[in-house]
Symmetry: C2
Subunit: 366 residues, 2 copies
């Protein structure tokens, strides 16, 4: 696969190359959009917390890590039940190396982060099986758009990631309602991707609202409202507000597809200034199909940071190679941006060393 | 008085000249820090609202105007009882002309703005006569500092203003507790400056806490906590966080003195990268003494936008010449930044035309 620096050009290669060129040596801003949803507490859906209630803390702990290099709302860093640490560790390491600023955008969290964050007037999300998942999606989208317009006047480019446990399930249901066939194609942070459970949950959301596959193709905000999550309107609004002016790297895995589909239905032309940035682990995920979903939506480039933890001295990092975690908190996009900003001086080896240094300090010493 | 473009060099002229040089043709960010305090509801203290309860809405309405060019939380724009409009009208006009981005930093407001804002974990302030005016001042300061550090990585310079009714009275009490003689020297947005009432209120705050003039010289956070307002820790934290790296134009009148004194006690060296930016109306205010207070604190330059509304076709604007309003919402600093960013292409005449255009749309048509 063609590459620039340690970035793989996965799909729409020439557009991807041009995108990397546009963000090279520039002054990027990293935005992390967060939210919580009760959907994450359905047993078996999410690996983001050892106990379902932990998922309320994960997004806030993740962004605390990005801003402070330690968490405040929990005593350690977020981990899977197997002790594999949050991808925020990768993001934080990339941001540190490249000296990139961070802004947190809160779409609606049960536990607010103990750091400064952009309030967008949102509330935590409900279980999508209620068919009434997100409050005030239009308002949050609109406020995020206003924020995006303003941020695009000072940042040269924006890398935007997310942290919301349960996010691939809400993404699946939104994609189905918008007519995108994503059954069995969304990723999971667990090694065993619980497709059946996700599909059952998404279909329950469609059923309770009386909606069929594709029924909301022209009404993406209703899709978010009924069966999305509070991260989505914040994320989509920021992209729509800023991408008119600056390149936006949408940093994430298959959750990005739901955002792309929402944007396409609202403001398709801004997608010309957008790329998806993810990790090699997502692209190689045999249990999912990022490329297949994106191709159904728009011809946006997919870039992947060629991260490789197979030789790491820490078992908790080698687990990424076996299919744990894979992506999240904009890890892949942050790595890509660090490589592009430094014109390749930050390599995947240098990044791994920094990640291991932080792993040692934050995880293995606990 | 020496000038550059339409900016008057009021104090520390050579430093002021160098400061304008440093921000010329640069990419500034405008930050508006807001808060509310029950102190504003003491009858006669503030002109920010027709009725005391209106002061809860003023800061939010002001920042809505900056971001949207209209208010959302109230049907019109904030005005004095005489119908003279908020200085946010001046700020908004300067920001529009210079295409400057805006970020709202919320230190603690009773009514939150209906636009995106940076939440710093603060709460609305109490009457300073309780001696327990501000909750969590340390935490808000610290969060604002983290935000300032991040913002300084993307903005070339930051212009930071405030909107908080009652702010000169809380400033007076903080200044007294820090040992700065500001009795009879703080400005007022009213033509008749109610010095006696302000001094009585500030002294009541000192009395209830058992503190004497200068008692908190070494403990500025306690001064804010006991007799300040929630805008102060947010404002001071942003300056301390960002001024290590980028020039900060502190946009306001005599309220800036309290912030300067707090910063001086915490991190004096950052004041080398700071200037105070205000209006000609503040500098010429015969009922106050900005220069005299600043000179007691630090050798920071004072710049003043040479705004002149005497020839305006609107009575509500000509009233500024008679001593109404004078400053607020960073009006003077925004005007200075617009002039510097445009290398003087934006003159005071051009600015007045834009202000009149907006006045006509927002005020006279109502």
């Amino acid at each position: 696969m063609k590459r620039i620096h340690d970035v793989l050009l996965v799909q729409e290669q020439s557009k991807g190359e041009a995108f990397i060129e546009r963000i090279s040596s520039k002054r990027p801003l990293f935005v992390c959009t967060i939210g919580t949803t009760e959907t994450a507490k359905i047993p078996g859906i999410s690996a983001a917390g050892k106990y379902p209630e932990f998922t309320d803390y994960t997004p806030s702990a993740d962004v605390e890590l990005l801003l402070l290099e330690e968490c405040r709302c929990i005593p350690s860093v977020p981990m899977t039940p197997q002790g594999i640490p949050t991808p925020a560790l990768v993001t934080m390491s990339a941001l540190r190396l490249a000296n990139m600023p961070v802004l947190v955008a809160n779409g609606g969290c049960k536990i607010s982060p103990h750091v400064p964050y952009l309030d967008l007037g949102g509330k935590p999300g409900r279980d999508i099986r209620t068919g009434d998942a997100v409050d005030d999606a239009e308002e949050v989208f609109w406020r995020a758009k206003v924020a995006g317009e303003n941020l695009s006047k000072i940042a040269d480019c924006i890398v935007i990631g997310e942290s919301i446990p349960g996010g691939t399930t809400t993404a699946l249901s939104v994609l189905l309602s918008l007519g995108i066939d994503a059954r069995g194609k969304v990723s999971s942070s667990m090694m065993e991707n619980p497709h059946e459970l996700k599909i059952r949950t998404a279909e329950a959301a469609l059923e309770v609202t009386g909606l069929k596959f594709g029924a909301l193709e022209k009404d993406p905000m209703r899709a978010v409202l009924c069966m999305g999550d509070p991260m989505m309107p914040a994320f989509a609004g920021l992209v729509v507000g800023a991408a008119e002016k600056v390149p936006m790297l949408m940093a994430g895995g298959t959750q990005m597809c739901a955002i792309l589909a929402v944007i396409k239905a609202l403001k398709p032309h801004v997608l010309d200034n957008v790329a998806v940035g993810t990790t090699r682990w997502i692209v190689n995920d045999q249990t999912a199909d990022l490329k297949g979903i994106v191709a159904q939506i728009a011809r946006v480039p997919i870039l992947a940071a060629d991260l490789d933890f197979s030789q790491s001295r820490f078992e908790g990092l080698r687990a990424y190679e076996a299919g744990a975690v894979k992506e999240g908190v904009g890890a892949g996009g942050a790595a890509i941006a660090a490589m592009a900003k430094s014109k390749g001086t930050i390599t995947k080896e240098i990044l791994l060393k920094e990640i291991e240094r932080n792993y040692e300090r934050l995880v293995s010493s606990k």
